[in-house]
Amino acid sequence: MSINTPAMLPRLCIVSSGTDPDGSGMQIRRQLRLLRPSLPCLLQIREKHLDAAALFRLSLAVKEEAASRNALILLNERADIAMAAALDGVHLRESSCPAGKVRSFIGRMLTGKSVHSLESAVKAAESGVDYLMFGPVFDTPSKRQYGAPQGSDALGAICRTVSVPVFAIGGITPENAPLCLAEGAYGVAAISLFTDTVTLPELLETFEKLLAS
């Protein structure tokens, strides 16, 4: 299946840990500073515990830090805040406002969506999103609330069915990422894997090689 990829869509996605204590974005900014100029990244701000005012302030702080980095910044769920902060886009949950409706006012900002089944992947792809994020592919503590891991076969079935780029998420490691790519994933995404900023530089180097091949 041919993939309609928006120009310059990165193939690695870092999702924020959801534990930013005060909305200052210290952890996210630390991650941004470790990004490699040669490895474009999507960075999704996903801090569900913050109210809209705090998310707006956080978005501005992250955007400022990202200005000179090779990263596109997306905000989870809130298209309005993403627009107000002039971020690069919004990442919708499976249970978010329908993507087609968000498209009607978000204009050309990047719009991605999480999906947890083939059925919702097909539906989301038809609604005009730029990419899908499917998971959990493998077992991971942060995604257990979304059910048992779905496996790389399910990922492959989705990648072969839809014509938008699909990111694999859930228990992704440098060891299993090649399997996801072999199943047709456009890229990979993770939360906890990238939280530790001590190991992050080496991981990014590894992923750059994996994604280039």
Binding site: D51, A52, A53, A54, F56, E77, R78, A79, D80, I81, M83, A84, L92, R93, S95, S96, C97, P98, K101, V102, S104, F105
Partner: protein, 206 residues
């Protein structure tokens, strides 16, 4: 345009099916509905907003969404209501354009004046009386706060917090253009009748 004064605004509670009570209070004569639901998903909010906007159009009532400018835009609601912890009013105004209604919560005169400066169409002032609907740690402002804001600000005041049949008339007499209620309706045995009674009290104040 917000409804002509004096009017009743119903703010939904965390009920799993807020559309039912909205339908009833519209029958009872409420002229403004605010969808406020903090635990619902974006998709659910959108679906409720669509339904409530349709119901409000049928009843010539105004429909606004609390906090979520994105949902208001997606459902083409008449406007939004923002608290002090929501998206800043100026940013919201840019997204909404000049025509959509924007209400801002205020609990001080300073907040009310800033709301006016930032482009609010009305200020939701409260809490006026003791209320059980939301966790409030501060003291009620009392109806005299309405008069003080009315004297200083040029935008309509919608009073909120502990307003019921007993104090609604006094609230309007103090200078509020409208009253916003949650519990006085949602916890009433018959929401439609509770709305009708409040509307009748407001109309006798004219």
């Amino acid at each position: 345009m917000i409804p002509s004064a004096p009017f009743l605004c119903y703010v939904t509670d965390e009920s799993p099916s807020p559309v039912d009570s909205v339908r009833k209070v519209l029958e009872g004569g409420a002229s403004m509905i605010q969808l406020r639901h903090k635990s619902a998903s974006g998709e659910q909010l959108y679906l409720w907003a669509k339904e409530m906007q349709d119901l409000c159009r049928m009843h010539n009532a105004v429909f606004i969404v609390n906090d979520r400018v994105d949902i208001a835009l997606a459902a083409d609601a008449d406007g939004v209501h923002l608290g002090q912890e929501d998206l800043p009013a100026r940013e919201a105004r840019k997204l909404l354009g000049p025509k959509k209604i924007m209400g801002i919560s205020a609990s001080t005169l300073e907040e009310a004046l800033r709301a006016e400066m930032d482009g609010a169409d009305y200020v939701g002032l409260g809490h006026i009386f003791e209320t059980s609907s939301k966790e409030k740690h501060s003291r009620p402002l009392g109806p005299e706060a309405i008069a003080a804001v009315r004297a200083a600000a040029g935008i309509p005041i919608v009073a909120i917090g502990g307003i019921n049949r007993l104090n609604a008339a006094r609230t309007i007499a103090s200078g509020a253009s409208g009253i916003a209620v949650i519990a006085a309706i949602s916890r009433a045995p018959e929401p439609e009748r509770a709305a009708r009674e409040l509307v009748s009290i407001l109309q006798h104040q004219q």
